[in-house]
Amino acid sequence: MDIIIIATIALLGLYMAWNIGANDVANSMADAVGSRALSVKQAVIAAGICEFSGAVLVGSHVTDTVRKGIVDPAALASLPNLLQGEAAALFIIGMSAALLAAALWLNLATWTGMPVSTTHSIVGAVAGFGIVAAGIGAVNWGKMGQIVASWFISPVAGGITAFIIFKIISKLILGQEQPARAAVKVTPYIVFFLFMVVTLATIYKGLTHVIKGVEWLTDMNTFLIALGISALATFVSKVFVKRKLSGKESLPLAQQLESVEEVYVPFVIISSCAVAFAHGANDVANSVGPLAAVANILKTGTVGMKVPVPLWILMLGGGGIVLGLATFGYKVMDTVGTKITEITPSRGVAADIAATATVLVCTRLKLPISTTHVLVGAIMGIGLARGLTGIDSRIAKKIFKSWLITVPAAAIVCIVLFLLGRAFLLDFVRQLVLAARIA
């Protein structure tokens, strides 16, 4: 009767994925919608495609049993006085509780409009389960420290990068006497950098998992591929920008600035799609990781550290994200589009490049950071570079607080759910696990 367990957890995973789509995705496209590069409808469709393909194509096909190794499953299995199958049953209940807790917390966040991190929600929930089920020692506190550090590192890193990129755009293009001419000269370099970051992020985020066993896809070759794609994009952009801006050098300054912003529209679309793609690839595991873990337990009977993620589970996660986007994220995107009118395409590109680059570097360093946190930091960075006309610092503080509270809140909800589950469902689940093993 393992189908009951799988179906239940699949439903929970779907609920979680729905929440990711509802809460997070609008943020990744915020720059494109806010700068009017895309209409809300177009943004929803673009985000849907990018998130789904990111999740299914690049979403990691191997996931840690417990996200980011925050809890050691071995600690659970080695608990004394366990009945046969009890460790597996506890694990299943724990994962379900974690999924439900994270999803409930995200749902609350979506409801009140807080851009919290899905990764941190699930990490907090799993840590809560680990503490109650196997004791304080079962939680990897070093990893937890990294997460706490990331609350400060990700916005600061995103902010500094965005500050620098926007300063460069502002100094070399917008601040020139003939912005149109300067844009023709400088934009190709920015495009080169944009495509380098985007392709490297796409490949590193897990394309290597898709094309498994391809030995030649080493770091060096990856770099060369990115270099090739970027060179091509640079060339295309050079032609495009030249055609768009030639003859506009003699227009009044205000009109030149306007045409320069228009030229940045396609770039902000590309960079926003890259953020959505990376987001789908990165965050789908938050919803389907526990599901994959449970499916594996039922198949092998053991609680391992790493488990494969079958394609159908990735599709489920990607589908759930798109569903959340279509049913609720749509509304969020609509308000984002009508309210953030102060961001222009040049600012959007700077924020997106900074976010993607920061996520890329931190992923390489194996730091668990949140795309949302980085993006908010990037927006603040552009504000510091005098690029935005007004940032509400009270809202910024509120956002920061919601980050701090996410891990403990998800942990507490998960602890409650897990204790309830253990009290009422332990025997039932254990029987199911044993039955599955015999069959």
């Binding site: 917008l174 006497e177 300054l253 908010v376 504000g383 940032i391 509400d392 610092s393």
Partner: protein, 223 residues
């Protein structure tokens, strides 16, 4: 719903440019007022006073609108204090233009032919000062787009440099005009002289406020 969009404050610079334009409209009524005074068309003066008072009210509405966009918690590319001083100086310009119209309605005064040319020259100079401020201040939106730096900032700063000189010129003209007025003390009744003096002081205050607004704009850019 979503908090990221709440992170962005509405730009104060669009309404600010509107305010500048409206204030300038108030100043534009001064010359027709002077012409009506020369023609001794006191009905026209009353009509113009109505107009400038309505314009001043509209400018006030825009000013409140701008201030609504500037809650304390907003983190802006310019210093809030400088921005508020800029607005309040522009506000003074509109107030003084209205005061000028009100002064003319208080008494049926005639303009003495001996000071007429100088008076008109002075009014034109005031217009020159506020006009320079207008040319600089309407660039605020573009300044924000260029993040208050580079070529755009340079253009506005050089405009503002001219502003100080124009105001200085207006000051000198005011002094010379006052002298001429007092030299007529044998011919004019004292009340008329007081009246002229009031007009000159009000116009001078407009130029002064325009210069101060320009200074604030410069500080905003150089922050």
């Amino acid at each position: 719903m979503n908090i990221i969009q709440e992170l962005f404050g509405k730009s104060p610079f669009g309404p600010l440019v509107e305010h500048t334009k409206k204030v300038h409209e108030c100043v534009e009524v001064i010359r027709p007022l002077m012409e009506a005074l020369v023609n001794e068309d006191y009905d026209e003066i009353h009509r113009l006073q109505d107009r400038v008072s309505r314009l001043e009210y509209e400018a006030d509405t825009i000013k409140h609108n701008v201030r609504d966009h500037l809650p304390r918690r907003y983190f802006m590319p310019v210093d809030r204090v400088d921005l508020e001083r800029f607005i309040s100086n522009q506000d003074t310009i509109a107030d003084k233009a209205q005061d000028f119209a009100v002064i003319l309605t208080l008494r049926k005064t005639k303009l003495h032919p001996a000071v007429m040319d100088k008076f008109f020259g002075f009014v034109d100079q005031i217009f020159q000062v506020t006009g320079t401020l207008l040319t600089a201040a309407v660039e605020l939106n573009n300044l924000a787009e260029a993040s208050f730096s580079g070529a755009e900032a340079k253009v506005v700063l050089s405009l503002l440099k001219g502003l100080g000189e124009e105001e200085w010129k207006a000051d000198r003209m005011a002094r010379s005009l006052s002298k001429d007025v007092y030299s007529l003390e044998k011919e004019l009744d004292p009340i008329t002289i007081i009246f002229y003096e009031k007009m000159i002081l009000t116009l001078g205050a407009i130029a002064n406020a325009a210069e101060n607004a320009g200074d604030m704009l410069r500080i905003m850019i150089l922050k």
